[in-house]
Amino acid sequence: MKGFQAQELNNIIEIDRKKCKGCDSCKAFCPTDAISGKYGAVHRVDSEKCIFCGQCLVNCPFGAIKDTVDTVDTVIEKLKNKQMTVVATIAPAVRVAIGEEFGMEPGTLVTEKLYGALKKVGFKILDTNFAADHTIMEEGSELIAKIRHYILGEPTEHHLGALPQFTSCCPGWVRYAELYYPGILPNLSSAKSPMMMAGPLAKTYGAKEIWHVNPEDMYVVAVMPCTGKKFEASRPEFASASEYWKHHGRTGHYPDVDTVLTTRDLARLFKKLNIDFNNVEPFTDADNPLAQYSGAGTIFGNTGGVMEAALRTAYYVITGKELEVLEYTPVRGLKGLKEASVTMKDAKTGKDITLKVAVVHGAKENLKPVVEAVLAGTSPYHFIEVMNCPGGCVNGGGQPINPMGTSWLGNWKAILPWS
C-alpha cells in the first residue's frame, strides 16, 4: 500500500459488504472522497486516501461500517498481569460521551465515575487533559517564539517553522496535510498531540517520579474519541521514551502509546469486566499530579477549544497578566470558519501585538480554502486551529454512535426545541 511507513496500521475503517445498502450517506461525510461504489451498489473504503477519521462510521444509517482494530482483549490481559503497570490516558471528549453507552443523556459529565471504573479494573491514570495543558505550554511557546522572531524581529535560539502556525492535535488533519497538502507541513506546530505527549511522559517522568516502575513494564492505553488516533499511535517515530532511556542506560524498544481504545471500546471493556458503570464508586485521584488538569485542558474536546486554551496562556505570557474574562466566545459554536483577533500589550517591549486567529472544523466543507490561502501567501492569520470532525472531538469517529439517530422518540430532550 502506498503512503504508509513500516508498522503503521493501514486498514482501520472497513465497510461490511453484507450490510452496505449503497445509500451514499458515507460519501456525504467523507472529507477525502476515499469511498467508492455506485449508488445502490456495495461501497468500499480506499485506505490510501482515507484519513481514518471515522465520520462515515458514526453516520452510517445501517451500521455497516466498522473499526477493524480491536484490542479490548489484549488490554484485559495486560490488566490481569500484575507485573504490568497499565496506564490509561483519557481524552477530554470521552468523559462527556461514555455515559451514553450506559444509558445516560449525551453530554453527561462523568469524570469521577470514569476514574472510579478505571481504578476498579486496575488502570493508573495520566489524564490526557493534563497532557493538553502540556501541549498548550509547548505549542503556545512555539507560537510566541515565532511571533517574536518573525513579527517583532527578535533573534531566536530555536529552529522555528513558518507562520501561520496550524495546530497539530488532530491525527486526521495531520494525515490530510501529509497526503494532500505536503507544502503546508512546515506550518504545522512541531508539538505532538496531547495523546503523544502523554505516552512518553508516562514512560519517563511517570515511571521515574510517580509510579516508580521500569518503563519496559508499562503499558499505556489511550482512550480516545477517535479512530484516527489508532493510526497516529502506530507511527514508528513515536518511540521517544525508549530513545530517552537508551541514553540513560536501559535497553528495549517500545512504542510511546501501546494501544488506543475508542470511547466505544472502553465501554465494551467495562461491560466485559462486569463493571456497573452507573453505580461505580466515584474517584477523584486527587493525590496524583498527573490527573490534575485545568479548564483549558478540558475544552480541547470542542471546536475552538485549543484556540481558547492557547489564548488564555498566550495572553498571560505576552502581557504578564491573566485574562479577566476567560470565556472567549468568538471561537465557540458550530460556525464552519470562526475568526477573531486579539490585541495584547507586550510587557517586554511595550508594543501592541495583534494576534489574528482562525478556527476550522468539519474538514469536508471548510478546510480547503483556508489551507490554499496559506499556500498562496494570502492568509491573514497567525494561528489556525483545525479539527477534522464537525464540532471537534466530541463528535469524533470513536464516540458512541449517534445517540439520537435510531430512536428519536425515546429522546424527548433531543427533539423538543426548547429543552
Partner: protein, 103 residues
C-alpha cells in the same frame, strides 16, 4: 324520454371555499415539512449537548489556564525544565512526512 336521463351532480367549489381548502392543505404540508427538518436537525443536537458538558467541566475547574496547572508546573520543575527545552524537544515535539513521496 327521460328513462336514462342522468344529470351529473356538479361539484361546485366556490372561489372562497377553494382558497380555504388550499389554505388548510398548505398549512398541513408546511407543518409536516417543518417538523421533519427539525427532527433531522436534532439528529446532531448531541454534538451541542456534549460540547456543553465540556464547557461545564471548564467552569467547575479550580484552575482554568494551562500555565497554572500545579501538576504540570511540578513536571517542568522536576523533569523537563521549561517548554522548548532540549528535553522537551526530544520527547514532546515531532516532524511530519510528505506521504506523496512514500512508496
Amino acid at each position: 324520454m327521460a328513462r336514462y336521463d342522468y344529470v351529473e351532480k356538479a361539484v361546485t367549489v366556490s372561489r372562497r371555499e377553494f382558497l380555504g381548502i388550499m389554505g388548510v392543505a398548505g398549512a398541513v404540508l408546511w407543518t409536516g415539512a417543518y417538523a421533519a427538518t427539525d427532527l433531522v436537525q436534532d439528529r446532531s443536537k448531541y454534538i451541542k449537548m456534549r460540547a456543553q458538558g465540556i464547557y461545564k467541566d471548564d467552569v467547575k475547574a479550580k484552575v482554568r489556564q494551562s500555565h497554572n496547572n500545579p501538576g504540570l508546573q511540578q513536571m517542568y520543575s522536576k523533569f523537563a525544565g521549561k517548554p522548548l527545552s532540549h528535553l522537551s524537544e526530544e520527547l514532546f515535539h515531532t516532524r511530519y512526512i510528505d506521504r506523496t513521496k512514500l512508496g
